[in-house]
Subunit: 348 residues, 2 copies
């Protein structure tokens, strides 16, 4: 842009990416490259004085090891992959954040790929990324159990919110949260409730439905499943008719997105929430308290989930011989967050 540009370009040979190597350090410090390597990576192997000299030279040259050159013989890349179905789904934000923090703590870098809810995209992305990472965290995978096991055979895998034989997982227990939610509805006098279910293939969907059913029956309520549906705002909105038709006084939705969709459509159609219809979502996503009324929801500590997932993976990585069953169960559990979308059932 300015006329000084020309001069600059001439004198500094601004060759991008020309970083210092151990050979430069060797030359500067007068030692052998292998000695340099040892001084930098195996403290103690080398005379303390030489080590200090070498480290000084390294600092002077602003040395940073080329990760590829390092990864080549060792096979370790200090990167882990995080595969998620839909990055715009607010559920993931906190998982990602928790994972980021845990990874950065140990000097690992997160490589994030999105499958856009498509299992072929996911397989492709995985294919591309797998060789560059030490391990994989699958957050909401669309892959089949067999595919997951196969990936697990290549690199350590940790599954979040899903369970597959032989594969490590981190899935916080829904039980308490669901029990509380059902009790909450029972206390409010609801007799007939519905579960607005998510995708048939979702492990978590089945988990929630089964738990819900068990608790509802125990509390003497009837419960019906409406679905399967896409786990989206739109699907929640479109299901209002079926909800109305079912005659229930309360709905638990597979996730907040669907809950919000349902709630807004109900309000738009003049159905009063919570007076005419109580709604409970899952996940406590960003924005679930923006609605009128704000959505009552079963909350998961997703940041913690992401954190524990990466911790488990790092554990697996550090300890070749660890088996998935050695991974401790997550410590945190779901809990009910009561906001405005639940109230006493209308008298029948």
């Amino acid at each position: 842009m300015t006329e000084s540009n020309n001069a600059e370009a001439q004198n500094t040979a601004p060759k991008r990416g020309s970083a210092a190597t151990i050979y430069d350090i060797a030359k500067l410090s007068g030692f052998n490259p292998s000695t340099v390597s040892r001084a930098l990576t195996t403290p103690g192997r080398i005379n303390a004085k030489t080590e200090a000299k070498i480290k000084a030279a390294a600092k002077e040259l602003n040395y940073q090891a080329n990760p590829f050159a390092r990864a080549l013989p060792t096979g370790r890349t200090k990167m882990i992959a995080l595969i998620i179905a839909d990055i715009t789904n607010p559920v993931f934000f906190n998982v990602v954040r928790g994972a980021e923090i845990a990874a950065a703590e140990d000097g690992y870098t997160l490589v994030i790929a999105e499958s856009q809810e498509s299992s072929s995209n996911e397989a492709e992305a995985l294919q591309r990324i797998l060789p560059t990472v030490d391990g994989v965290m699958l957050v909401t995978t669309r892959l089949s159990d067999e595919e997951i096991q196969e990936v697990n055979r290549l690199k350590p895998v940790v599954l979040v919110n899903r369970k597959v034989d032989e594969v490590a997982d981190v899935v916080p227990s829904n039980e308490n949260g669901i029990a509380d939610a059902v009790k909450h509805l029972a206390d409010l006098g609801h007799k007939h409730i519905a579960f607005l279910s998510g995708p048939r293939a979702s492990w978590m969907n089945t988990e929630r439905w089964n738990n819900l059913m068990k608790n509802a029956v125990k509390s003497g309520m009837t419960i019906v499943e409406i679905g399967p549906n896409d786990p989206t705002l739109e699907a929640g909105k479109l299901s209002l008719d079926r909800v109305k038709a079912s005659g229930v006084s309360a709905v638990v939705t597979y996730n907040d997105l669907m809950g919000i969709g349902l709630l807004r459509e109900a309000v738009a159609q003049g159905i009063r929430v919570p007076e005419d219809l109580s709604i409970i979502g899952f996940d406590n996503i960003f924005g679930s308290d923006f609605t009128s009324p704000p959505l009552t929801t079963v909350m998961l500590n997703l940041e913690k989930t992401g954190n524990e997932g990466v911790a488990a993976l790092l554990n697996l990585l550090a300890n070749e011989e660890l088996t998935p069953s050695d991974i401790p169960a997550p410590e945190h559990e779901a809990s009910l967050l009561v906001r405005g979308s639940t109230a006493k059932a209308k008298k029948a």
Copy 2:
């Protein structure tokens, strides 16, 4: 999957990560490793028939090039870094998605790092990631102009929503959207408006304020800046008192987060929106239509921004000699999305 698995597992030494190399292919196909390399990477350089044979052998061995071995001599990693300030800020989701798509199209992998709004974190993450990527996209960096220029000297950088000398950028024009917003308020009879500003250091904040001021003055309105503030829900909420005190009938907020915070607090305090106070946000984030009333906002096509950012970076990468000024301005512009939070000004 079948019983043949056992046999396979026995003879192939199922050592994790033991992938086929070009040497294996060479042995299997009877050619030299370098010939294999050429067949796979320089189509046409090799006799079509041999090329086919080699490719068949590669397929048979399920060959996938070791990216590190490849990156070492070429320096190219096919990865680009995406640095964002706060991954839980919904503004970024769509940027990330757009970037993902553009990157995947060209076989590039996105490495995402979050700086948690801290410039030291950001510098550190950048330090860690920089050697492993071909280029960097800075989405909401907390780095100083000088730091950015320095990074740009090492690897190609594309800035999103910010401008720094000598560095390529993608910043969609706010002008139309802001002009429309001001005109919208003027048409509704507002005479005195405020800008609830974001962080002082934000380039975009200054941009919006300057534009807003210019347009407001032109329309014969008075405008005041209230701030600076954190770009958060909480800050929006806390600023209500100052907004009330200012006596304005309409507020434009630096972003939707602040707009939503302000709107919800106003409603909570019994101030009617939009009858008593009109509010316009920026960004059209997820959830900005969940509020009651839904937030009127100046919408940016963030997915497109992410897309164009990566495209620009790829362009820079493919064409060493390209200078930042060769990057075309983004084609899309901001536009006003009128929802429910704006209405006629009360008569003074």
